[in-house]
Symmetry: C2
Subunit: 328 residues, 2 copies
């Protein structure tokens, strides 16, 4: 039996969405039990109703807009801080929340602690790719300024995640740059390239470009947290823009409108591909337990998949694989 702590208060949706997601995960996985963290009136009735659910009653909630480090310091009885503490104490083996990425990053780094030798944890996003091949994209975390040796660790942690989650035996890693040639990039990126070339003989395959993030060409694409954030947000903005344009186009003529109606189920599938719901969230790599971070605009299916994916990461020993990959 694997126990996952799930934050019932995370995300922009009502706690009911999260609870329904947890219930769906429990129904799908008979070897799963859940520690549900949140306000008493939310978690107690749920625990009473579900055999494999226990309640972790907390009194505070960290909002999506709060300053992460300040919120984690001040709200000691929040579902995020207490959830991470419960993992540290061994009451659960992994943590899932659809709350603020920054707050989860801070709470997990402090509360669960880093794997020995990890300089900075990183946040990885599994991206869908043309041809069905997925790409692990990192860092999406708070690491806006990195040193070359941190990028090397991000690459190694990304490889461990690609092994456990995508089932790739020997994942190949590319460095995001503004051109594929070895000499392309800012001074910092050129230095990162050199460090990767030295450390990653056998798995570092060189520079790639923004067009490659969704192309399914590499198992892992690594970058600093600043560039990673800009790229992911640009991707989200582009998808939003295109889907809104398609909606507008559907209103441009009767024929187009009817066509859109007939395509609707398929278009929804496309939007879902990019939403991250299929996997359930981003993964925080480098802590002593698997931590998954769902999209704030979450759904029942996203919570279900995120909870199951956290349990899967525990069973596949993601933490052990990261430690091994880091050559610890």
């Amino acid at each position: 039996m694997v126990t996952i702590c799930v934050d019932a208060m995370g995300g922009d949706e009502e706690p009911k969405v999260v609870l329904d997601g947890i219930a769906a995960a429990l129904a799908a996985d008979a070897d799963l039990s859940v520690l549900v963290a949140g306000n008493e009136e939310v978690v107690m009735p749920f625990a009473a109703d579900h055999e494999r659910a226990r309640a972790l009653v907390t009194t505070e909630v960290i909002g999506m807009g709060e300053h992460p480090a300040d919120a984690v310091r001040q709200k000691k009885d929040s579902s995020i801080v207490r959830g991470c503490a419960a993992v540290r104490a061994g009451e659960a083996q992994g943590f899932f929340s659809a709350g603020s990425t920054g707050a989860i990053f801070a709470a997990a780094t402090l509360g669960i602690g880093r794997i020995r030798g990890v300089k900075r944890p990183a946040v990885a996003n599994p991206m869908p790719g043309a041809s069905g091949r997925s790409t692990v994209f990192l860092d999406m975390g708070a690491n806006a300024d990195v040193r070359p040796e941190m990028i090397v660790q991000f690459a190694q942690m990304g490889r461990a995640f690609a092994k456990t989650t995508l089932g790739v035996e020997d994942p190949k890693v590319a460095l995001l740059s503004n051109g594929t040639e070895d000499t392309k990039g800012s001074e910092a990126v050129v230095a990162e390239h050199e460090a990767l070339a030295a450390a990653g003989a056998g798995w570092f395959v060189g520079n790639c470009e923004g067009t490659d993030i969704l192309a399914g060409k590499f198992d892992v694409i690594v970058t600093d947290g600043f560039t990673g954030n800009v790229a992911l947000k640009t991707l989200e903005g582009t998808a939003k823009f295109l889907l809104s344009q398609i909606r507008d186009a559907a209103h441009s003529s009767k024929k187009a409108g009817l066509g859109a109606l007939m395509m609707k189920p398929s278009l929804k599938g496309v939007a879902k591909q990019l939403s991250g719901d299929a996997y359930g969230g981003a993964v925080l790599l480098g802590c002593k337990a698997p931590v998954l971070i769902g999209h704030g605009a979450t759904s029942v299916e996203a919570v279900k998949n995120g909870t199951l994916a956290t349990a899967h990461a525990v069973r596949e020993d993601l933490v052990g694989r990261v430690a091994e990959e880091l050559g610890a």
Copy 2:
């Protein structure tokens, strides 16, 4: 009469596509004449057939994959190098090419020369936005490492372009970062923010995120050439991925296929919006004449619009407006 030099050898397509685009521009603008740079067999017959076209016979072509600075140094008789020289000599008032961005950047900086006081020219892309408002996005050029005072100049040049091209009276500028708060960003971006806040009282509105590039929220979004390249390539990759997914979805059922067929004209319009064909290209800001750079995968319409937009930039005195904005 405005004369624009057009590179007949630029881009991945046959020269015929460029020539047809020039012919369409000449037909659309009776006050336009064109100096067509390229191989003799390409440009001579065209000049003979068109009253307001003259030939600039060159013998070399810079390929899309060549090292920009090396190619410009070595291929002195290429259409790009000779075209820029013709502009410097006063034979034309602006230059348009669908060739290699890096080569055009290098040839124009050396061959046409910078406006007094400009530290580094920058490449700006006019982006379509939700709600119809466009955003000037820069830098997309060779400036992977920038100093804060360069970002301030990019912002000022972007403002000049937004004034002449988008017709905005007092363009507002945002800085691309990994969050909207003033303190967000890498150390470099935080320093850029401070420089913009000091220089841009009245028009600098703070940080923005990747989701804003296509949101039509700001007149100008400024960033370094590394981040700008990653964002633009991510945008292209996302659009490509989504459109391919929609194509796949159309094949998933008969109904979806029929729906896609009915939506096809509208979907083409959506793809066009993002292709840059509507404006004709990116603009190189900071040189002593307007230089426009078309997408390598060009089209008759893109060349037509790019040539007309270059003439428009000459008539609107883009160069004078840039100089004025820089407080020269």
